[in-house]
Amino acid sequence: MISANPNRADNVRAILSGRALDGQSAVWREQLENVKSSDVERALSQRAGAYSPDRLLTLISPAAQDYLEQMAQAAHRLTVQRFGRTIRLYAPLYLSSFCENSCRYCGFNRTAKFERTRLTVAQALEEADIIASEGFTDLLLVSSEDRDFISIDYLAELAGRLREKFSFISIEVYAMTAADYGRLFSAGIEGVTLYQETYDRRAYHYYHPAGPKSDYENRLTAPDRIAAAGMREIGLGVLLGLTDWRTETLALAEHAHYLMKCYWRSRVSFSFPRLRPAFDVDRSQFQHLLTDTELAQMIMALRLCFADAGLVISTRERALLRDNLIRLGITKMSAGSRTSPGGYSRRSDSTGQFEIDDNRSPADVAAMIKHQGFEPVWKDWDAIFTD
Amino acid sequence: MPATLAQILERLGVEAATVVAEVDGRIIEREKFARTQVHEGQSIELIRFVPGG
């Protein structure tokens, strides 16, 4: 276990509340409105990849919308410099749709009425075989809050069996204890994706009214535990559309910056889950949906502030948008995804967590990547050398 | 003939207030100089602050 410097007094909780990023966003909105063109120009003239809260605020401001092309050129240059002309490919493997939470935006919400499925380890391995046959060696195990079945033991066993086929296995499941993350790390899981969904405390409580996920603090502090367990990659993100995306981006960046400083052996990456149509979820309650332009601005602004962060885009987004985002700083994307447990083998019509909008096969996505002058990377890391 | 550390320093003409003393590798606090007996065969190191970067 790695522990952070015992002299550090601050933690992410203190940082967020100290900068009013956990609820009082009126202050930020005013600052954002006051950004002028000259501020944006100055921010763009500063060293690309350097983070400061002010610089990020300037780049995500309304004023910066007039500078998107310039931001894009800089983001593209910086990404190619740090990551080369490569895009990593991964696939999600959904393990269960049984859920104890009642998140208002999610298709797997426990009150939603549909036939739930969960996979045994054997069934999960079957799905994994199909994924591997497409060429993937980077796998993301996804599950809803189904702790009793998709337990730590289950995940550890599955990871152990998957290690020979996949060079990088990460998880996107419920928040756990440090000991649990440690166990999974020993079992071969090397990355954890965990979205805060929203850093706004009040909004968080509104959108997550019940179930274990309703605990804001536990969620917020989970990445510390993930890093302390030695995980190599930590995936952060907010569910874009729950609240004002600009404040969320500022909070997300502060969280990332804190983790990068304290847990310098791990790589932090950002994902951009955008609210999408889901079965049985009422879209009219969402007032903060992002346009494509705003999503692009967020991606580029984060790239220009974090030279080495991974930027991940999933198949939630439509093909043409994904193709264009590749040149704006994206470094990793999924392809051919199925978001329902058993979806790869059954090609089923069972309810997925959200609708997919890029239905291209992995081979087609890889071809598109090549067409753009990038190399699709299926394997980036070999755990076998450290065994 | 055994003497105290304080006596030795006096004999050498070294001001006690400006040095740190070690006897056989153990640091002796200044207040204890007068009470610290030094025997033949023991090694004394006297160290002081000097200019440095």
């Binding site: 800089a74 593209h76 400083k261 | 070294v14 640091i27 440095g52």
Partner: protein, 257 residues
């Protein structure tokens, strides 16, 4: 100029000065005074019997300066730890500049012994300021064990070559959780200003001041340079303009929205 904070203690000056190599006590005392420094370094040496009370340091007013003992002369962790404990026994000050330099030619610091000594000294409640080569990973490892700062060199001690390690210093500064004090090799006030402009929290200078023709004026020059550099850093300077080669537009697709 905003205050420098090390181990919870505030300082107005971001210029630390070493007391070595001065021609005389008077020069040293006056130069320290003109420099505005609040932290000055000293070393520990065996008393020379024929030179018993040559106490150059009598000229330093200990009420005015925080005297920071260094462990220069130590060639390994054990020697450094011993020197630190001796220094603390003498003054009851628990601050130490950790310097482990087994190489007598360039006086470059040994990273392995430095980390080892730092870990021991932090556990014994010392405020440790480690002198190191400009190694970003070593800096993180030292911060993990709890040192109060990191002190990466600009170039070898006494070489006056300035920031030969600039690229690495920038990384250290970007990643640091503690104040970064650029120490060693600063030969001119412009070097000190440069260090401050790239975001260093402070600099430590010795040779350039002590061996100048007029050390007192040079001390003042360094003081002004450090202040200018810090002011510039705080004002948010623009980066040098890198002309990019023209490339096809990347955001055209957004206009269709």
């Amino acid at each position: 100029m905003d205050d420098l904070v090390i181990a919870g203690r505030q300082f107005k000056s971001r210029l630390l000065v070493g007391t070595g190599k001065f021609a005389s006590c008077e020069d040293m005392a006056e130069a320290l005074d003109k420099s505005g420094a609040e932290i000055v370094t000293v070393a520990l040496r065996r008393v020379k019997i024929d030179n018993k009370n040559d106490d150059m340091l009598r000229a330093i007013d200990l009420k005015k300066y925080l005297m920071l003992p260094n462990t220069s002369g130590a060639r390994d962790a054990d020697e450094a730890v011993r020197l630190a404990r001796l220094a603390r026994a003498a003054t009851a000050i628990n601050w130490v500049k950790l310097e482990v330099t087994p190489d007598p030619y360039y006086l470059l610091p040994d990273p392995v012994e430095t980390l080892k000594a730092a870990e021991i000294l932090v556990k014994e409640d010392f405020v440790v300021l480690p002198y190191i080569n400009a190694d970003p990973i070593l800096s993180k490892r030292l911060q993990d064990v709890g040192t109060a700062t990191v002190m990466p060199l600009g170039s070898p001690i006494g070489s006056n070559q300035g920031l030969r390690t600039r690229a690495a210093l920038e990384i250290i500064i970007e990643q640091a959780n503690v104040p970064v004090v650029v120490d060693a090799g600063l030969g001119l006030p412009s070097h000190a200003a440069e260090a401050m402009e790239i975001g260093a929290d402070a600099v430590l200078v010795n040779t350039a001041v002590a061996t100048a023709k007029d050390p007192v004026e040079m001390a003042l020059a360094f003081k002004l340079a450090v202040e200018a550099g810090r002011m510039a850093y705080n004002c948010g300077p623009a980066a040098p303009d890198k002309k990019a080669s023209a490339s096809s537009p990347l955001t055209g697709f957004l206009r269709d929205e």
